[in-house]
């Protein structure tokens, strides 16, 4: 049996390598897209977990501020608890390299006298030895800027122990000295390499603020009930802090990332879905060619079960080959895309960048199971079909797909019923559930293939045959439904995704354009490089801010101070703004509230404006009160308006700068925006500022540059979406090739008949290409309809539930037309090879069945 199989596979590989290769490619693409997405998902989480573990790996609990910083006076209060075995304060600052403003480092300030295990490694030039604590902390403290860096970072920046390097935090520059190499990966393999460690007091002085810390890590006395300790600490330290275990911190990140990860997972599942279709057609292809062989096996006494087993084992083998190809492909795709995903995480979710791919072994196992299982599942139907057919039908030349033909109507009926039931469910109560949009989308994508056979059948029947050309081809499509409907449905699903996502992205982009046009009004935006790392310490000093405002040609100035905050358990962005010019009508478009009175309330009565996503997620509206965590506990602010905002899905709150300073304590601003006098040139002003402050780390952007940057970030956010979309489409187009190859084999006698009746090779070629185009066109029709519905679901339901943005629907006609044209071109390309094969059929093939 096994030997028979091996020989069969080898023989078929020789006879029809294209078919086998396509099957393998289909499985490989499906596997790869799942693996890519899962690797990226896991890596995003791991980046966060890694930084938690590397810094707080020894801690049982972490005390974290609900406001940007904590006073270090909390430290003794923590130590005073009898169940606390040890505690150490940390400061954490995002800094950038002075000569590489986009290279961020996570600077952690620690108290070297605290009982932390830092895995110092012996450096090349003989630094401190490996040990539980530093051999001589006092010496470290005596060295200004003493910093421990990871060996990888030292290699990357070409630094050795004793070398110095300069970083910036806000407008400050700090010279740091490599004091030791420290390998955080000994603590946790997930640790990033961009962690640098320095003395707490020095970190505060050089990069942050004296007396302010970000975190206190706590180790409990053995056997302590951690929940109780956490509760007690929370009580002692007041409402301004959270006390969390490392697991809870990771969970928070998971919560933040949920929408992002769900989005990717849903997309990758669609690739698998479409991949299954491909495997199905490929299997069918390889089986149809060998119908006679199975007929023979059966007539020699093989039972249906044996025939089925032969097929199943063979397909599993193909699946395994596909997996073998898909795993490296998926890994490679993840590597290629990690940067854009990482950028999305930092830009949109204010989380740690992914520095390294994290690939748990289990992921490979999962992808392999999906590949092989998918192949077998995809083969199930054709294999059952093949093994159940009686010997005579297997040996006969003209087989009809009557069964699917008669099932077309009930299938379409069940598809319609599914849509109706889901729609009803949504209207009646499903819309209250956040995931409802995905249920709608899945129902739509499931109904699409169910309706396909009927559509193809009816459309084909409508065609009147008047020549041996495209009409004839269209009619033929309706005949072998079991083969053609599958390919068309797969294509329809892929096109739905393409169209749906294109419409969504196009609408989103257009909305963003309108929004950016109205809200980015200033001419020059000034901030510091480390601000992009969302560091609270990334501040402009007030003297500089005042000097910039006083530059010639500057008409007015907006000031902004911003940092992350909390409303309840929700992490949001807070922005204290001081507006230099009165906002005109289009500035700061409001979704709810009247502009003049809203702005008056914000400036005069300490009210706030909340962003649309925040309003949707919290259910807060005009006149409601928004609780915000402030250093003294919680304060409530009246919501004076809801504004459109597309800069963060987490939600933002705008306060007036004085209100923010009063609530959180005064502090310098993070960014200012300059309005220039009429006629002044923004780019020239940028150059002038740069020339005037050559040594100050400033990030200067003209209005134009900033806009361009917004759209770069936008494109980054959807880059991975587009890639997955492309993969699904590639799989679907491959499906056309496969289906036509199946048809070329299945219809051998029919093609031979055409040749016997005098059809030339070119005519047969043309018929096949026309069938390919026909499939492409039908896929377009189906996908176009499905895509519009999908876009509606994406924009109106899923986006609202997960992101909370209002997106104005706009149809990117040019993009859609281009896609339709490329798809048809792809369909033509996909049919060339099968058409060539079909055209090689000779009239003599008829004779074979005759004898």
């Amino acid at each position: 049996m096994i030997r028979y199989l091996v020989r069969v596979v080898a023989a078929n590989l020789r006879r029809a390598p294209s078919l086998y290769l396509l099957t393998i490619v289909g499985v490989a693409l499906g596997v790869a897209s799942v693996l890519t997405v899962q690797i990226l998902n896991q890596s995003a989480l791991a980046a966060f977990t890694g930084s938690v573990q590397a810094v707080s790996g020894e801690a049982d609990l972490s005390v974290l501020g609900r406001t940007p910083t904590l006073p270090d006076s909390l430290y003794p209060a923590v130590l005073a608890d009898p169940d606390v075995a040890g505690a150490w304060a940390l400061s954490r600052t995002s800094v950038t390299l002075a000569d590489r403003p986009d290279y961020f480092l996570d600077a952690v300030g620690v108290d070297f006298f605290a009982p932390i295990r830092i895995p110092f490694v012996t450096s090349r030039t003989g630094g401190p030895a490996v040990g539980a604590t530093l051999a001589n902390p006092a010496a470290v403290l005596a060295t200004p800027g003493w910093t421990a860096v990871s060996p990888e970072l030292a290699t990357e920046l070409d630094l050795a122990v004793g070398d110095t390097f300069t970083v910036t935090s806000g407008v400050r520059r700090a010279r740091l000295k490599v004091g030791a190499l420290v390998d955080f990966r000994r603590l946790t393999p997930l640790a990033g390499t961009r962690l640098i460690v320095l003395d707490l007091a020095q970190a505060q002085a050089l990069l942050g603020e004296p007396g302010r810390i970000h975190q206190i890590d706590v180790r409990a006395v053995a056997g302590t009930e951690l929940d109780a300790l956490a509760g007690r600490l929370r009580e002692t330290l007041g409402p301004g802090v959270d006390v969390l275990s490392p697991e809870q911190r990771t969970q928070r990140a998971e919560g933040l990332l949920a929408a992002f990860r769900l989005n990717l997972t849903a997309l990758s599942l669609i690739s698998v879905f479409v991949g299954l279709f491909l495997v199905y057609s490929a299997t069918q292809a390889s089986l149809v060619r060998r119908r006679a062989e199975f007929g023979l096996l059966r007539s020699l006494g093989a039972t249906p079960r044996q025939v089925f087993a032969v097929i199943a084992v063979e397909v599993a083998l193909l699946g395994a080959l596909g997996v073998a190809l898909g795993l490296p492909l998926g890994y490679w795709a993840a590597r290629v895309n990690v940067e854009v995903v990482s950028a999305t995480l930092t830009n949109l979710y204010l989380l740690d960048a992914i520095e390294r791919l994290y690939v748990p072994r289990a992921l490979f196992a999962l992808a392999a199971a999906i590949g092989i299982g998918g192949a077998v599942a995809g083969a199930l139907l054709p294999a059952l079909d093949m093994s159940r057919r009686d010997t005579k039908t297997l040996l006969a030349a003209f087989t009809l797909h009557e069964r699917l033909g008669s099932a077309a109507l009930p299938l379409a009926g069940s598809g319609a019923a599914l849509l109706a039931a889901t729609g009803l469910w949504y209207v009646v109560g499903g819309h209250d559930w956040r995931g409802a949009g995905f249920v709608l989308a899945i129902a739509l994508l499931a109904a699409l293939p169910l309706g396909t056979p009927l559509l193809v059948q009816r459309l084909a029947a409508l065609v009147r045959i008047t020549d041996f050309g495209w009409r004839y081809s269209l009619r033929s499509l309706g005949v072998r439904l079991q083969t053609t409907a599958f390919a068309i449905a797969a294509l329809g699903i892929a096109v739905s995704m393409l169209v749906g996502i294109t419409l969504m992205i196009g609408s989103f982009r257009r909305t963003l354009e309108v929004w950016v046009n109205s809200s980015l009004r200033a001419d020059v935006y000034i901030t510091t490089p480390s601000w992009r790392g969302r560091s609270t310490e990334a501040t402009l000093d007030s003297a500089l801010a005042a000097a910039l405002a006083a530059l010639p040609g500057v008409r007015a100035v907006d000031r902004l101070r911003g940092f992350p905050g909390y409303t309840g358990e929700r992490r949001i962005a807070l922005a204290g703004v001081e507006m230099g010019i009165p906002y005109d009508d289009s500035h700061l478009p409001l979704l709810a509230g009247e502009r003049t009175s809203a702005l008056a309330a914000v400036h005069e009565r300490g009210a706030v404006l909340i962003s649309e996503p925040l309003a949707r997620k919290t259910g807060l509206g005009l006149g409601d009160s928004l609780p915000l965590s402030v250093p003294t506990g919680e304060r409530r602010f009246v919501v004076a308006g809801v504004y459109y905002d597309y800069s963060s899905e987490g939600g933002t709150v705008i306060l007036s700068l004085p209100t923010l300073n009063a609530a959180f304590g005064a502090g310098p601003v993070n960014s200012i925006a300059l309005y220039l006098a009429p006629g002044a040139d923004a780019e020239a002003t940028v150059d002038a500022i740069r020339a005037r402050y050559p040594d100050t780390p400033l990030l200067l952007r003209s209005n134009r540059t900033l806009r361009a940057e917004v759209f770069t970030i936008f494109e980054q956010t959807f880059a991975i979406t587009r890639m997955l979309q492309g993969m699904a489409l590639l799989i679907a187009v491959t499906g056309i090739t496969l289906t036509l190859l199946v048809l070329a084999h299945e219809r051998l006698s029919e093609l031979a008949l055409y040749r016997a009746l005098g059809a030339g090779t070119r005519q047969v070629f043309g018929i096949f290409v026309a069938e390919g185009i026909g499939m492409g066109a039908l896929g377009l029709v189906l996908g176009g309809a499905g895509g519009m519905l999908l876009a509606a679901i994406l924009i109106l339901v899923i986006n609202r539930a997960y992101f909370g943005w209002t997106i104005q629907v706009s149809v990117p006609l040019a993009a859609l037309a281009w896609q339709a044209a490329s798809l048809l071109a792809a369909a033509v390309a996909a049919s060339l090879y099968p058409a060539f094969r079909a055209s090689r059929t000779t009239a003599a093939e008829l004779a074979r069945d005759d004898v």
Binding site: F468, E750, Y754
Partner: protein, 223 residues
């Protein structure tokens, strides 16, 4: 009009080496004749018809069709010649199940790019002649074997071929239906003035032709 001159056809088979399907076959037919070919299974009857239709070319010798030596024509030219001047009828009918009677009969015209009222009239005429005019729009799936072969004959005659080749046209039919199909075939070629070569196993049906030829192991005996 159809002339074989010392035609041999050798098949190289992987298992048993080369093998003569036809050996030194020479004959000539004149316009309007009907010829029956008889012989055992595997004796080379189908091979002879294939060579005559230009579906295949001889290994040696020459096949002349309407004065043109087929073995010197290109594949495309042979296909054109077959399309325009040769009609084929098969044992297994080879009707396309997804097309109606009308469209099955129309197929040669479609392939040749002919259409219009004349073609439609011809289809109607032929369907009437084979007794199926009122079922023109039906799918062929539900026809009986005899009816299917009648449709196939109508298809073969659609473009008024000068030569009609029928390979065991009654091989799949019972005696009564076979007889009816034979009678119809012979009547039609007589009306149209078509030359007919047909293969049959039946002595009775062979006797209906003007001449009967026999093949033994690839060697033709024209009596």
């Amino acid at each position: 009009m159809l002339a074989f001159d010392r035609v041999s056809k050798v098949y190289d088979t992987f298992a048993s080496g080369s093998r003569y399907a036809l050996r030194d076959v020479t004959f000539a037919t004149s316009m309007g004749r009907t010829i029956a070919i008889v012989g055992r299974s595997g004796s080379g009857k189908s091979t002879l018809l294939h060579l005559a239709a230009g579906i295949d070319v001889p290994t040696t010798g020459s096949v002349g069709l309407f004065g043109r030596p087929l073995e010197r024509e290109s594949e495309t030219a042979r296909t054109r010649l077959r399309r325009d001047a040769v009609g084929l009828v098969f044992q297994f009918f080879y009707l396309l199940p997804h097309l109606s009677l009308h469209d099955n009969v129309a197929l040669p015209a479609l392939i040749a790019g002919e259409r219009g009222a004349a073609v439609d009239a011809r289809i109607r005429q032929l369907l009437a002649r084979v007794g199926l005019e009122d079922r023109a729009r039906d799918p062929v799936q539900h026809l009986s074997g005899g009816e299917m072969q009648r449709v196939a004959i109508a298809r073969a005659l659609l473009r008024r071929p000068r030569l009609l080749l029928a390979d065991e046209p009654t091989g799949n039919l019972d005696d009564a239906n076979g007889r009816a199909v034979m009678d119809l075939l012979l009547a039609l070629v007589a009306e149209e003035g078509t030359t007919l070569l047909y293969v049959t196993h039946s002595r009775e049906f062979a006797a209906l032709a003007d001449e009967t030829w026999e093949i033994h192991s690839g060697v033709l005996d024209t009596g």
